[in-house]
């Protein structure tokens, strides 16, 4: 471990705010991208399923 204590890990010298906000933003962006990919896939499948069922009724 490069830090002696947990608070030191959070503060990171004096630039903790920069490091943590950079990591926070990136993780958020990747999470949103992953969620969007999942939600889009589910939506495509659901829309197609509805369409095929409508076709069957007709």
């Amino acid at each position: 471990m490069a830090f002696d204590t947990f608070p030191a890990f959070l503060i990171m010298g004096k630039h903790g705010v920069y490091v943590w906000s950079a990591y926070g933003f990136s993780m958020l962006a990747i999470a949103v991208l992953t969620w969007n990919t999942f939600a889009h896939h589910r939506k495509v499948r659901n829309t197609l399923m509805k369409r095929y069922r409508m076709d069957q009724i007709r």
Binding site: K14, A22, H41
Partner: protein, 248 residues
Amino acid sequence: MRWVWFHKLGSPKWFFFQSKSWVLPLLGLGSIGLIVGLVWGLAFAPADYQQGDTFRIIYIHVPAAMLAQSCYFALGAAGFVYLVWQMKMAPIFIKAIAPIGAVMALIALVTGAIWGKPTWGTWWIWDARLTSVLVLFFLYMGIIALQSAFDDVMLANKATAVVCVVGLINLPIIKYSVVWWNTLHQGATFSLAEKPAMSAEMWLPLLVSVVGFYLFIAGLVLWRMQSEILQREHRSSWVKKEVMDRGL
């Protein structure tokens, strides 16, 4: 030379069933690489002697910037393949990878700005490297917008492919911007031919993080391609069977 694989690659059905089992393993391995690389970089790598702990931003900034460029290279190659061979899979790939590349470029820009403030004293400066990466981001946005700007799918495919290929010119500009112009941004720290100038304790976590990013993004690209194939091929009987079987 056997070109069978190339022709098979052009078939959305073949691709769909081949890539289906790849998505989860890629996402899983990628997440492990990301978590290991980032925790290692954040907590265990030694602090830089000049920048202190601020340099830890490198473990996301560099992989994101590499991916933003790699994704665009793939986009340009796909555009070329579409223009020459009209391969059906090319626009599907372009549609899937463009938003991912855009997010990677955005991460590179934002983490770069956050890194710039404490080290250069400014969030942003209009120098060659930063501006060319901003152009890359706008290229991605333009391609995303262009795909839905036409009612005619063939026309949309073609126009998008042309922009993808033309935009390739930006890649060498990004790469050599730090050499050709006098920029604030430092030159490349790593090259394939030489031993890294950084200590192994610092570049090993970076390597793990880069590999993690690539695997994770590959999983996401395949997943988005799956959605796109289902949507575009919805009139095929195999898509109907696939959708109905899974849902029941």
